[in-house]
Symmetry: C2
Subunit: 438 residues, 2 copies
Amino acid sequence: MTPPLNIAIAGLGTVGAGTVRLIQEHGALLAARANREIVIKAVSARDRGRDRGIDLSGIDWEEDALALATRPGIDAVVELIGGAGGIAKDLVEAALGAGRHVVTANKALLAHHGTALARLAEDKGVSLRYEAAVAGGIPIVKALREGLAANAVSRVYGILNGTCNYILTTMRETGREFADVLAEAQALGYAEADPGFDIDGVDAAHKLAILTALAFGTEIDFESVHMEGIRTVTADDIRFAEELGYRIKLLGIAERTDDGIEQRVHPCLVAHAAPIANVEGVYNAVVAEGDYVETTLYLGKGAGAGPTASAVVADVMDVARGDCVATFAIPAADLAPPHPADLDKRVGAFYLCMTVRDEPGVMADITAVFRDEAISLESMLQRGRAPGEPVPVVLITHETGEAAMARALARIRKLTAMTAPPRMIRIETFYHLDQKPL
Amino acid sequence: MTPPLNIAIAGLGTVGAGTVRLIQEHGALLAARANREIVIKAVSARDRGRDRGIDLSGIDWEEDALALATRPGIDAVVELIGGAGGIAKDLVEAALGAGRHVVTANKALLAHHGTALARLAEDKGVSLRYEAAVAGGIPIVKALREGLAANAVSRVYGILNGTCNYILTTMRETGREFADVLAEAQALGYAEADPGFDIDGVDAAHKLAILTALAFGTEIDFESVHMEGIRTVTADDIRFAEELGYRIKLLGIAERTDDGIEQRVHPCLVAHAAPIANVEGVYNAVVAEGDYVETTLYLGKGAGAGPTASAVVADVMDVARGDCVATFAIPAADLAPPHPADLDKRVGAFYLCMTVRDEPGVMADITAVFRDEAISLESMLQRGRAPGEPVPVVLITHETGEAAMARALARIRKLTAMTAPPRMIRIETFYHLDQKPL
């Protein structure tokens, strides 16, 4: 057996503590599967006194996380501090610079600095691994980087944020409104006190930017991700969508188009029959479509100590075995420069919910706008009759361009009968490569 | 860049031809991702004259597939002939023996000789890879061997045979009977002229035996797989199951129990809410449950030229990069000897469909049998009233032992009112590790 792989872990929050526990509990199993022992030599975290429920005896404590990068005898540094900059970035750069392998769960860091870090890792001949950064326990990074490596990928999309999926699922199951369910999720610890990162789509966008680089062999291009969160989704929207045969999901979608790479995170209406529509609660799922493999789907828990530690340690074991695949599947120098598609050129169907005063001529005004923009309507729901009172009107359009839809929306907003801003949600239709709808 | 990886391909059927096409079409992509070129140096197949729609110019033709094993200049042999013995086995043994890496899609060979072949590969310091042998394009072998390597796996199960899933899906969608749908599937080329391998569960059992070895670190133990096919499933069963909230799927299930490793392939009733229940048509899916990652699911096409070639070439690329994980995740010498669980000790719920003459006292006779065996009933469906005529009676039991159920069935078979053999199908209840039903 090869000598042990000596690792240092920076950050002992939920994931860090879970990683220590996993390695200690499964020592013999890991050694058998990696063909060498995995030994935690040193750790670093903010508060040495805190009880984390793990046994740190025999493990050196380093007050300064950065010192782990150059600490003698360390083969790989596991960065579980988090954040796009600060100590996490300094540590990863220093560790790679010192010729140590790095395993990280840090999506923000990779979304902002992934290309540069991949170059640094390759210059130094070491691995930079980040399975835990995308979709928690699901081995989707490995699947895209290795399992589907023989394919030209056309699209990858998924439910990448468990907090949003939990909120949307709970809203649907209980009929409650967003703010109410968010407050409960915060009380239960499923959502952060400052929830913007999750509910505004930033976290999903970080993950999507990483998937895009992996799937398409491009430099990370987080700045080009179109981002909309779930704050504006209402209980009505979810109910109307259900009636029309759809479920509302926050999806991250990366697609190769004739115009470039499209990256977008926003709420979507997805047909009930699509497998992704049935991924509920804190589960994540990613669909990858390749030209030979066709459609594949990967489902599992996207967060939590156990699933995330599972992904972190899988990376550590790959490092232990000396697997040498490139950070983003192809050499960093060969990653194509960003070539973002213009979202205005996207064509798709739309859901639109308007709240209008129930008065004569309103429907004629609305439908005239769509006629003028040559947008044809697939269906319309109008509920309740309450002359003079606000009532919801729901429209589903046929396939139409984003630009035309944006123009129509701008005009509809100005209609005097409109008592609240209209809400637009894109409808995503997923097909197999053989063109049978999923 | 490293020098090219020179490969030889034995077998140019659907999968072999697809593999050649993929490598030729994606040459530059594969070279970028494997960091070296993949070059097909030689091929062998039965009929040199046949038009396979692929360009074999510049590739040497070997009349004797076995000669590929020792042909000079070959780094890896890709075996796509199939079959548990014969030339496929001879070739794989000879290639490994000659110190060449082997990639195969041959589930029968691995199910019967996997342990010995893994030992041979390790003795010779070469890789034996078989992603395409299980669930076609889904990278489930890689997921279990590497992606989930940090977990103690408790259970792995799935829809492993696309032909059976297609037949069951079509029966449900059309209400037609098994024999009718099978004949159509044969005409369409979805089922073999000799369909026993698929519909009797043998193919699924081959794949399950491989998953078991990978998941639990045991020697391959195909002989212990309990096997039942789908020939006896009727349109009535499918309809009754739907009414009761279940779908019928042929599952392969491998589970670590206190008594040993349970391996079984048989039709199952699965609750509609379980993700696996919604995997339809030719799709396969595998669920792997680990102690840290919890429940993960992998879905994709389980057969066909494209998906299978995707898996074959992914293995070739791992070989090209020099990845060195053991055949069944741990060294072959460390694989635990088979320790099959006694299926009689299994506890679960059952679906039972009986065809009885509608006459007084029948239900009393039936319920008396269950009372005597202490089997409690969850629900009962009795449709149609036709005094003196045969009518179906459907029962769902609460959790009960296999042995008690077998005794009850033996007695029920002998009741004089029974006009046809009763049909028993196991109900599988899937829980997350946190004990919430899926």
